[in-house]
């Protein structure tokens, strides 16, 4: 959940309350507040069709299960049902408001958190540390100030993942295998842009000039002209 989606979802909830209030005012016969809340929530319950889009699950409500259940429950109390059903249906249609919120949040999100920019994934630094994850990685220090200008100088590039793999460890090598891992470090103490909801693992390239950012939705490779290692280190 990111902050864009969270705020839009909140707006939908406010809209539901306002709509329920509108129905309430139009009706002559007044019912208790908790009943309204319960009816609307029950109405939300539906059989839905789910399909993924850009890493989000879109739920398209088809069968108003909640409404059907309530109808069955109040089938012998016609007058009551006449009042209740409006709230139940509001609950069902609210599914589409939530769907709209997700659809709307995606383009807004992409405007704020630009996918191919390194600063989206490396926005704030709290004691950034480089840790070797492979025997070919020598202990390196990292300069916090350099890191910030390093991040702004980076650009995203496409990468030949399979070539990297075969270049790193040729098939025919005999043990013991001496290997130089292309990304022998991970960078910690770095946070993605506030509200993005991104959790990434950041691998640092052997020469200190490239980052491979691994997020649950995919990977991004950034290169820079300058290196990120502390002074006097190559």
């Amino acid at each position: 959940m990111n902050v864009v989606q969270a705020s839009l979802t909140l707006i939908v909830w406010v809209a539901i309350v306002l709509l329920a209030n509108w129905i309430y005012k139009k009706q002559n016969e007044k019912i208790k507040l908790w009943k309204i809340a319960l009816l609307t929530l029950a109405g939300l319950f539906s059989f839905s069709f789910t399909l993924p889009k850009d890493g989000e699950m879109l739920r398209i409500a088809i069968l108003p299960l909640g409404v059907m259940f309530l109808f069955f429950f109040f089938r012998k109390k016609k007058e009551k049902w006449n009042i209740y059903r409006k709230y139940a249906w509001l609950g069902f249609w609210a599914n589409y408001l939530f769907l709209a919120a997700i659809l709307l949040s995606q383009p807004i999100y992409q405007q704020i958190y630009i996918e191919n920019q390194a600063s989206t994934y490396l926005a704030s630094f709290h004691d950034p540390t480089l840790t070797a994850i492979h025997p070919s990685g020598v202990e390196k220090s990292i300069d916090g100030e350099v890191l910030e200008s390093f991040v702004s100088s980076m650009s995203q590039q496409s990468f030949p993942s399979l070539d990297w793999y075969y270049e790193t460890k040729p098939y025919d090598q005999q043990a013991p295998v001496h290997v130089k891992e292309k990304f022998p470090y991970i960078l910690t103490g770095v946070q993605a842009k506030w509200g993005s909801g991104i959790h990434s693992v950041i691998y640092v390239e052997r020469d200190g000039k490239g980052l491979l950012v691994s997020t649950p939705k995919g990977q991004h490779y950034f290169r820079s002209e300058m290196g990120v290692f502390g002074e006097g280190e190559e």
Binding site: I133, S136, V179, F183, S214, P216, Q219
Partner: protein, 244 residues
């Protein structure tokens, strides 16, 4: 008036329950050496225990017991305090090499081992490894660097021990699993299960840094009574990568 008595009774009952439960949580003292040998040998295991080398309390609810079997093999058992008021055996191993003990659902992890005496084997190396991987799916490339972390445990006169998994390993694992749970759709989850691909292994090494096994005549065996104590795979040079 009746109501007051009722409320008072309820309060007394609540306090009593609280103290009773508190007392339940306090583990009973661990077995004496003789009782422990008897307990171990009543378990219907393949070989009988002849000597208890030590009883190492990891915390007040977990005890590691290295032992020697009657057939001469070295092994260990792992014990946990069960809140239903008894000490419960989690594992009885006499296979080669260490095991990984996950305590309280992975919040703490320990390498536990008991090697027979052998002057030529001086160090135990344990590893956390995730294999290098690369793929392209629907034109989207992905590359997972190899993770290979190593800890060297010196095997001095004391051939058994409990070695806590380093913080950095635990953190790296958490980081990778967090990356995993950040997902919202399950469709592509298998592609990025970085955390589940992690495995652990070991090898023993002699003075010159070469791999060296400890030969034992009898075959080892292991019984696990819970998933908390895991065998580790034996690694050879082919399974490892070296720097320069």
């Amino acid at each position: 008036m009746n109501k007051k008595v009722f409320v008072f009774g309820l309060v007394v009952l609540a306090i009593a329950t609280f103290f009773f439960r508190l007392q339940l949580k306090e583990p009973l003292p661990f077995f004496s050496e003789n009782d422990l040998i008897e307990e171990l040998n009543s378990n219907g295991n393949y070989a009988r225990v002849s000597e208890i080398l030590d009883m190492v309390s990891i915390d007040e609810r977990h005890v590691f017991v290295p032992f020697v079997l009657e057939n001469g093999r070295y092994g260990f058992s792992a014990w946990e305090w069960n809140p239903s008021r008894k000490w419960e055996i989690l594992a009885f191993h006499s296979v080669d090499g260490p095991s990984l003990w996950n305590i309280d659902n992975r919040s703490e992890r320990y390498f536990v081992y008991n090697f027979p005496p052998d002057d030529k084997v001086t160090e135990l190396h344990v590893y956390m490894i995730r294999d290098r991987n690369a793929w392209i799916s629907y034109d989207v490339p992905a590359y997972l660097p190899r993770i290979q972390l190593e800890e060297n445990i010196s095997l001095g006169d004391k051939r058994y021990g409990v070695y806590k998994m380093p913080e950095e390993w635990v953190e790296l694992n958490d980081r990778l699993s967090e990356n995993e749970t950040g997902r919202t759709d399950q469709l592509f989850s298998s592609l990025f299960s970085q955390h589940e691909l992690m495995h652990y292994g070991w090898r023993t090494v002699g003075q010159n840094g070469e791999q060296r096994f400890i030969e034992q005549e009898e075959n080892g065996f292991g019984s696990s009574y819970s998933g908390a104590v895991l065998f580790l795979s034996t690694l050879s040079d082919q399974d490892l990568e070296f720097g320069e």
